[in-house]
Amino acid sequence: MKNAQLLLDDPGWIITLKAVIVFAVCVVLTIMSVWGERRLVARMQMRVGPNRVGKFGLIQALADGVKLALKEDLIPAAADKVVFVIAPIISATTAFMAFAVMPLTGPVTFFGEKTVMQLTDIPVGVLYVLATASVGVYGIVLAGWSSGSTYPLLGGLRSSAQVISYEIAMGLSLVSVFIYSGSMSTSSIVQAQQETWWYGLVLFPSFVIYAISMVGETNRAPFDLAEAEGELVGGFHTEYSSLKFALFFLAEYVNIIAVSALATTLFLGGYHAFPGLGFTEQWLGGWFTLIWFFIKVLFFFFIFVWLRGTLPRLRYDQFMQFGWKVLIPVSLLWILVVATLRVISTTSQSRPVTFGFAGVVVLIVLGISTAFDNSKKKRDSVVHPTAAEPNFAVPSLPSEITTINVSNQGGDRG
């Protein structure tokens, strides 16, 4: 039975309960992931991380949240009051809304009602996620503008330009998934992957483009230029404090989890088990699929943290260039290839034609990459026009030192 049919006969109270559960899961995940991120990043930096509040420091993030909420709520005198208050609300609300279409489990029995843990299953579910994301940008832009201050404005501009550009790449990377699954509904895409392979393997280039653009979309390191503290103080939320800041904080983490959940749904088979472990899906009356789903989501979250612990921030122009001149053209070409392959395989169904086409594509890619390498070598070999090399007094390199003058400056060791 399809998810949409299962959801159709849900009584109102189950829908309400599900909405509350989705909300609660997002908030709890945010609190836990803040803790998890701090511990992981600490390990990567040879530190221990928060370990004082609660067992293993587990409720550190909760304590920080309480502290944040009790702080003084400031509205700058130069701010546009109404918009200043609305902005964080837009940001947080839209972040939660994306979760409505994520299928968290397979068919389960929920208070005696056979259903799936998914709030609604609309035929354009993935587009709906893009729509909520694009409204979420308003929160950032308006926060930057309404603060009435220079750094937030610059941060807001950067952030909105970044999110819009990377949303295009993200949208394009989804197209090939639509072509292969023949649907834009999240549950059908999960189902379609079960019938073939995970799209993370079949459509690997799309997966890579999506993974890169989801980091850009959520303003996370190494793409966190909107809050580059060395340049912009705190970016768009510089002037925010107390609960309003907490809302932005919440929105950022819920967004991370939402894009991870979308990646799981579209590319890693959603709530289904790893290939070969399909029997686990029946455990706990089907609820075990929830665990599979969150294992995959947390895997993506770990990647987010890993990136933050590893990579330095990009320069803004290089970042935009990468988005517009690399990701978007590459995904357009990839869509072309996928669409052609799809047409060949659905109409003629002759293997030689398919393999021939794929071979030609691979050859073209290899040719382009060779040409690119050559031109890069040529560019690197250009000698920079320079003035005379300056002559500084510098210490000799270790290899140049032949004698070491050891003289005891008068028995300092006693």
Binding site: A79, V83, V124, L127, Y128, V135, V137, W145, G148, L157
Partner: protein, 259 residues
Amino acid sequence: MQSLLTIQGPETALFWFLAPLAVLAAIGMLLVKKAVHSALLLAWVMITLAIFYIAQDALFLGIVQVVVYTGAVMMLFLFILMLVGVDSSDSLTETITGLRPIAITAAVGFGGLMVSLLGHATLGREPIGLDIANQSGNVQGLAELLFSKYVWPFEVVSALLITAALGAMVLAHHQRTNPRPTQREQAVNRFRSGSLAGAAGLPGPGVFARHNAVDVPALLPDGTPAPSSISATLKARGDVIDSSQFQLDNVDTTVVEEK
């Protein structure tokens, strides 16, 4: 025909809740003074329309309305409007006298004409109803029409849009007269130009513990202001504060005890 016009239950409630809000927002859009507020109200009207589309089973249209109009077009508007700053508002003084009554008359007349025309309009045939139109799925139905019957207009519109985008780019593009120095070239030049003073970065503005604004030149150890510590733009505008008043000798350091 009649069955199409009757709306029942939740949809009626939704309509009577959102429609007044949409109309209020539309009127407010014309009346508010700040351009950004106008843009926001317009975005709200668009989202309300999208909700109506969704309520009337046009799911794809509703979502695309949000993605394209609210998310992309309106965002670009907002992007430009943001640059005018938070406290600027439109001037409402009439530059040409008598323009306002003419404009109002024309607008009301045009509105009346449109309403009367649309009121008389017919589809020319009986509508078949949403159930039949959405028979094979809303998206599939649209795709079938777009890529068969309307493929020519669809392609023409997309060609038009691409031409417009290219035209905008050509008009906005300008060629640099000399190539921009790369980061590497800048680094090389810093070290190989006449002085090494700026090699490790220029001094920051401000006088320690006295004044940290960007328009106050830093003081060098000998007490003279460092000209390289402030932006050339500020210097050209004449917006530079004399920092000699913050020199230790000139500052009043006598402590006044509070009683």
